[in-house]
């Protein structure tokens, strides 16, 4: 199995004619992903990378029946693009764009909730179900199919984690970046819930970072749900200073909330295996899985 994305997924690229979108669409196609169409207002009717381009999501859906959209639209137009995808009926929308205003995201999330659509991101590398499909911008080569579900707030740190896993022969069921912004779509809780019932996934790796409360909520969920699969967690930013934003718009310790120490404490108390050193991500997951099998 895998979650959210599999070999039957049909992908739409919003903003397909842009430079980044073009580059990554080609990579997705190379990976064997079924990208079926693109949307760029004003460029409808053309072919781009061999794919039909439409002016609106509505037209693209009518013609090509995608079920996932990936949004590469510039920041100030991206929330509108996300809502367009949801209004068209798409149930999973992956928003790569970084720098979308908070208020736009608040509006978009309310709209998506009404439409019953899920959002991954924004400011995310996307998601990949190795061997099945790639809906994002991560380097495909480091991934292997396998038993580890990966949920991360980070981009390149996720690649590092995947690299370590794959080096040890531990493949991934699905690896998902949830995005580094203060307001994002699906978070740890919802995705842990999905991995829970995914037969391919034997363990879950969480990569958190400072800021917000997503890790604390995940800990609460793990505790309350008595989560049946082993969970390992790494939280970046133990050395982060208070009140300084570290790159990601969401990565800031505000007031008394969001320090890596607090997050680690909560997750440990909830039974997650804490990874102390970012170089030990792979081996810690391997140990965890071996232990659990031993039980």
């Amino acid at each position: 199995m895998s979650i959210l994305l599999d070999r039957n997924s049909r992908i739409l690229i919003q903003g397909i004619t842009g430079q980044q979108a073009s580059f990554h669409t080609e990579r997705m196609l190379e990976y064997g992903t079924k990208v079926v169409a693109g949307v760029t207002p004003g460029k409808g009717g053309r072919l781009h990378l061999g794919l039909p381009v439409f002016n609106t999501v509505e037209q693209a859906i009518r013609q090509e029946a995608p079920n996932i959209s990936i949004v590469f639209v510039p920041p100030l137009a991206a929330a509108d693009a996300v809502m367009e995808a949801a209004a068209g009926g798409l149930k999973l929308i992956v928003c790569i764009t970084e720098g979308i205003p908070n208020l736009d995201m608040l509006k978009a999330k309310r709209f998506l909730a009404e439409q019953g659509s899920f959002l991954i991101g924004p400011n995310t590398p996307g998601l990949i179900s190795p061997g099945q499909g790639k809906a994002g911008i991560m380097p495909a080569s480091i991934h292997r199919p396998g038993p580890v579900g990966l949920i991360s707030r980070s981009g390149t740190l996720t690649y590092e984690a995947v690299y370590q896993l794959s080096q040890l022969g531990l493949g991934q069921s699905t690896a998902i970046g949830i995005g580094g912004d203060p307001i994002v779509g699906l978070k740890f809780v919802e995705l842990l819930e999905m991995f829970k019932s995914d037969s391919q996934t034997e363990a879950v790796l969480m990569i958190g970072e400072i800021g917000g409360q997503a890790e604390e909520e995940a800990a609460e969920y793990l505790r309350q749900s008595n989560y049946p699969k082993p969970v390992a967690a790494y939280v970046a930013g133990l050395t982060a200073p208070r009140g300084k934003r570290l790159g990601h718009a969401g990565a800031i310790i505000e007031g008394n909330e969001g320090s890596a120490q607090d997050k680690v404490k909560c997750l440990a108390a909830a039974g997650a295996k804490i990874i102390e050193n970012p170089a030990w991500i792979g081996q810690t997951v391997r140990e965890l899985m071996t232990e659990k099998k031993g039980n």
């Binding site: 208020l103 390149t156 740190l157 982060a240």
Partner: protein, 386 residues
């Protein structure tokens, strides 16, 4: 983006929210003159982009214009180290000279993006002038919150709920509702993250005056807020920070000796963490970002390599969007330009890693290649030791 108190007060005044009479001054003479105009007794407030100014000695009451001038002499040019300013402290270059507003009561009012609940919140407290986070622990019953959404805005009944919670005098009630309506509209129209009035003074004549104001704007909204963007004060940034900003590099200076150059915020944090884990101290956070150019990589490297505090550097790149060869080229041309004389540990993984290593290898510069993350960290910590 934070703006200065005097800027925030100008915005509020424009909006029709009363603020104390006051003048901005940059010299002791200007302060003396301003104090005279305001009748002698004044409050001087250091204009630095940081909270906690009061505790750090940045807010001074003077009883006469002479006293004000004297206090200004002591304050201007001084470095204030506040709880939020970081170890370096911030130099006081401007003072806001204001009339003293005698309060009958002080209350608290703020509007904020509540990221946990994914809502906006309007918050009031019957006690103003105290830190809201401390009050939330010590006396939560003194605080009331109303959530709202950007589409609808704060609704009139919510504003009434807050006003009646505060048990305002009748004569202040309408002004409070008026302020709250204007402020919540302003908050939405201007892509704010935080608007805090603390204290909001109720005078004996029931006038409401915003005595201290904090405004923080969503950086991602600035592209559509030219008026607000123009208020950005770069003068508090160090030369390195300015340089980083102009090349769209995410750079935060810290106290250690190991410069870090990384792509991706999470990996950059993890890199700092692993350095600390092996006994080193990172000199900075630096995420070169996904859209980085060869020139920007060079600039980033120069910022680190030319920093006197930095004894060794760790370059940790996991190529995705960013290509390793581009990073390598940026490093090499920059290292040549500055005649690099510090050890640099380099780890390149991902897109075009082989090309990258080749470029660096052929450059004949003090670069150490390490493939393993842990070894790279250990090595740079060793190299940084005297």
């Amino acid at each position: 983006m934070l703006i200065h108190e005097f800027q925030a007060k100008a915005l509020l005044k424009e909006l029709g929210v009363a603020v104390p009479a006051g003048y901005l001054a940059e010299t002791a003479d200007e302060v003396r003159l301003a104090a005279e105009k305001l009748g002698g007794q004044v409050i001087l407030k250091a204009q630095i982009l940081s909270g906690g100014r009061g505790k750090a000695g940045g807010i001074v009451v003077a009883d006469s214009s002479d006293q004000a001038g004297l206090a200004a002499t002591r304050l201007l040019g001084r470095k204030l180290i506040t709880a939020q300013s970081g170890g370096r402290g911030l130099v006081v270059k401007k003072l806001l000279v204001e009339e003293l507003v005698p309060p009958a009561r002080e209350i608290y009012l703020s509007l904020v993006v509540d990221r946990k609940n994914e809502k906006l919140a309007a918050l009031v407290s019957v006690r103003g002038g105290v830190e809201i986070e401390e009050l939330a622990k010590s006396g939560p019953q003194a605080i009331k919150k109303e959530y709202f959404y950007p589409e609808r805005g704060l609704m009139p009944f919510q504003a009434r709920n807050l006003a009646y919670f505060l048990d305002l005098p009748d004569a202040a009630y309408k002004t409070f509702l008026d302020y709250l309506k204007k402020l919540s509209k302003f908050f939405l129209a201007r892509d704010m993250k935080l608007l805090e009035i603390n204290p909001l003074i109720i005078k004996a004549d029931n006038q409401l005056v915003a005595a201290d104001i904090k405004m923080d704007f969503d950086d991602s909204g600035l592209a559509r807020q030219p008026e607000i963007s123009s208020l950005e004060d770069w003068s508090e940034l160090s030369a390195e920070e300015k340089r980083a900003r102009s090349f769209k590099l995410n750079y935060v200076k810290m106290a250690g000796h190991i410069g870090c150059l990384v792509n991706g915020a999470g990996l950059a944090m993890a890199t700092m963490d692993i350095i600390k884990l092996f006994g080193g101290e990172p000199a900075n956070f630096l995420d070169i970002g996904g859209g980085v150019t060869e020139e920007a990589v060079g600039q980033a490297f120069e910022i680190l390599a030319c920093d006197q505090e930095v004894k060794a550097c760790l370059v940790n790149i996991f190529g995705g969007i960013v290509r390793c060869d581009l990073v390598a080229r940026g490093l090499v041309s920059s290292a040549r330009k500055i005649a690099l004389n510090k050890p640099v540990v380099v780890r390149l993984q991902g897109t075009n890693e082989a090309e990258g290593r080749k470029i660096l290898g052929e450059a004949n510069l003090p670069f150490y290649f390490v493939e393993d993350f842990e070894q790279a960290a250990r090595l740079v910590v060793n190299l940084s030791q005297p």
